[in-house]
Amino acid sequence: MGLVVSAIAFLFAMAVAGAAAKRLPQASTVVYGGTAGACALIALWAAVGLAGGGPDAALVLPVGLPWIQAHLRADALSAVFLIVVNLGGITASLFGWGYERAHHDSHGASQDGPVLPLYPLFLAGMNMVLIAADAFTFLLSWEFMSLASWLLVLSTHREPETPKAARLYIIMASFGTACLLLAFGVLATAHGDYSFAAMRAHAPEAGAAALVVVLILLGAGSKAGLVPLHVWLPLAHPAAPSHVSALMSGVMTKVAVYAMIRVLFDLLGEPDWWWGGVTMGFGALTAVMGVLYALMQDDVKRLLAYSTVENIGAIVIALGLALVFKAAHTPVIAALALAAALLHVVNHSLFKSLLFFAAGAMLTATGSRDLNRLGGLIHRMPTTAVLALIGAAAISALPPLNGFVGEWLLFQAILNAPALSEWSLKIEIAVVGAALALATALAAACFVRLYGIAFLGRPRSRAAAEAVEVGRAMRLGMAVPAVLCVVLGVLPTPLIRLFEPALRLLVEAGPFDGRAYQPWFWLAPTSAIGNSYNGLIMLVVIALLSVVLVLGIHRKASDRVRWSIPWGCGFDGPDPAAVTQYTASSFGQPIRRAFGSTVFRARDHVEMPAPGDTRPARLSVTWTDPAWLVVVEPLSRAVTWLADRANRLQFMTIRRYLTLMFLALVVLLVMVAVTQR
């Protein structure tokens, strides 16, 4: 534990170093190197602890409010998320180091604000949330994490969209913290003790617990991006520099998931059956809406941020299922669902970081995040293209990569729904399963679109035609998560084994309980009723068949190849804009028409000039975001209205102020009299 705390202290030292020496050329090397080292240390500590049956280290620091000290504790659940956060930290540092150097080289000096001092602070804040063991420390770390990431978003303040994104982010972050504050307040009401240990010991009564469930879904959900509280996420995540976007999207949302798990599974005690139902419903809505939004985006990083919303939906579905099965006293199935959630947490942090890095590489190489200005990058950036293809295939849940394993486990948990007794839950789980399947299939379409438009085809702008491959550090930063995506897809069981202490802590069972024979390369959870999956054998068989196929074909077939110009309907000049190839919007059109016309009221407008007129025909697409209409606009109207009313208080006579003070005193005295009686 001392090790973790000193590593976090070291991150603070790195922040100071970054602030002090940002003019020096070696500063970024020192800061990113130091950050990666500290992260590696914490991740290693957590992994060793988990392998040894789960760490349980506690520490009380004599800081904070005078009568309450700062309680820190790292148990098995913290350790799982410490691994996720710090693994993300290591790869982001590696990539960020290269990214920063590339951007310095091209501009002479960095255009952006101070990333160097804030970056270690952001990671320190996330680590602190995970080891906090009382409400004060937790909320303080939570706010610290939010503010550090908010400042990082603002570091690109020269871009026109950033201020709007930052404003929305700070509003939603304050809203989330307020909800969490209230939730912890309700949890501590009975005994007035704000440490997690006391909350765990005194489970709240049913009404209070219901309130906490709702508040935590709102509070942590707004940080994680649950629909309809997701509105800030696709604006704020892409605004930051790419390695910070990766951390915000791939890792910070997982810290919010950690908060949900900590409260719903640990602090609240025995769950009620409807908690899981509500959680699952939110998850299903989030998964489907998130990917539909993603399909409408032309901005690479915004598309990825919306895809994060979708994946958070899948994770929350798994959490809801685990809650349902925990409430139904079927712990082995609950362990299966929770294992699916944790596995997807790790998987998503890996492939989402990888894809954000790839977006950063494209941005470095072409200066653009607009899909309609990219294209053909597979020829110009071969390594990035291969690594991004692994990421796109993994996030589309294609076997034998890691995304599929999480989905497979989740579907096996869903298939256990007949074990439940509530009919409404059974029907809900069937519908949630359909929603999840729909979201997965749409995600594949979404990433075919992203990869096909950005990397394949012909360049859509001069910058894309002249792009050059990024440097070695950036490529290495992408290669590490890509390799892990493959390894975890082929051998997921050791990782699930590693997480077992956390599962035992939360649902008192493991997914492999009661299995006599459990080979490490075979995925066959107990409650999956004899179903099994083996990515390793699948990979070997695919490789074998490919070899047979290639040898067989080339023995028989002609080897001649002729290169030629494809027929482009007459438009085939050297001008990239005059090439008739599909754009991001045209690729999305069938799906937009099938789904978007009802959900987003998407409409295509065709402006066709009269015959003989030489103006080009134009097609424009309009769509409205229901979440803005339902959540953001009423919320912002309410805030403005309240601010206007409160404004009147500033223009009153001294007599009125005195009256107000007197009235307030009377009200307080009455309240004291009533409550003390």
Partner: protein
Amino acid sequence: MTLLLATLYQILQMVLVLALAPLLTGWVRLVKARLVGRRGPSVLQPYRDLLRLLRKEVVLARNASWLFRSVPYMMFTAIWLAAGLVPVFTTQLALAPTADLIALIALLGSARFFLALAGMDTGTSFGGIGSSREMMIAALAEPAMLMIVFSVAILVRSTSLAEIADFMMSGAVGLRISLALALIALVMVAIAENARIPIDNPATHLELTMVHEAMVLEYSGRHLALVEAASMLKLLLYMALIACVFAPWGMATAGSGVMAALGGVLVFVTKLAVGGILLALFETSIAKMRVFRVGEFLGGALLLSLLGAIFLYVSRGV
């Protein structure tokens, strides 16, 4: 010994599906031709077509990348493996525990993912049209397929295809509304996934109506041969899947001996012949629908399969 036999059966199955796939396509084409009053080509014509394509040179678009050239191999392998996983003449297959029905669907999804990418690689409009429509169709067909799996899996308590076939053969299921709904939905999905009428026309090259053919328009030579062979395999796979889940009779099971397995092969060929006739009858009696009606067609399949799953959840106190 059991493992050795299972491996032998597995290899036999891989070879069998590969050998029979063009024959099935040729058979469907022949029956269709007879139904509309033509004589039609020989059932062996698809083999000749494939050989002819193999001997031709490959013409590549100027800016085609390595992805375009390797996708035919990748998708063929994925579909071949998937076809090898569906029990056709015996449930004793070595690879049965490696992948269940969910993994099988995902494997077909991989093949489609890469083929759609290849369609976009040459940078022509046709590839884009085909890829985007194919992904739209898949976005509805795949969840419908998974819901069908749910219905079956709730009844059988397993998603392993071998266990499903064993259970269905035992006759413990009886007639169920959910299964009927699942069968209708599965047939609808199979029609869409194999680009058959009324979703797509495998014989057309009219650009406005093409889906699958538009996606593979730039392929030629051995690459085209692989893509075509993969479509034939996929048709066989879906027929085998329907047969395996809804009509598994005649398949060899654990401990039923080699002769039973050989008998299973004959029964399987008969099933394919009947399936081919039914498909040809259906295709000649219906007109192709507009591309944007496909959403309604597959949305119907999705709802039917969901309804089937919900019926089961409600009717069974498992």
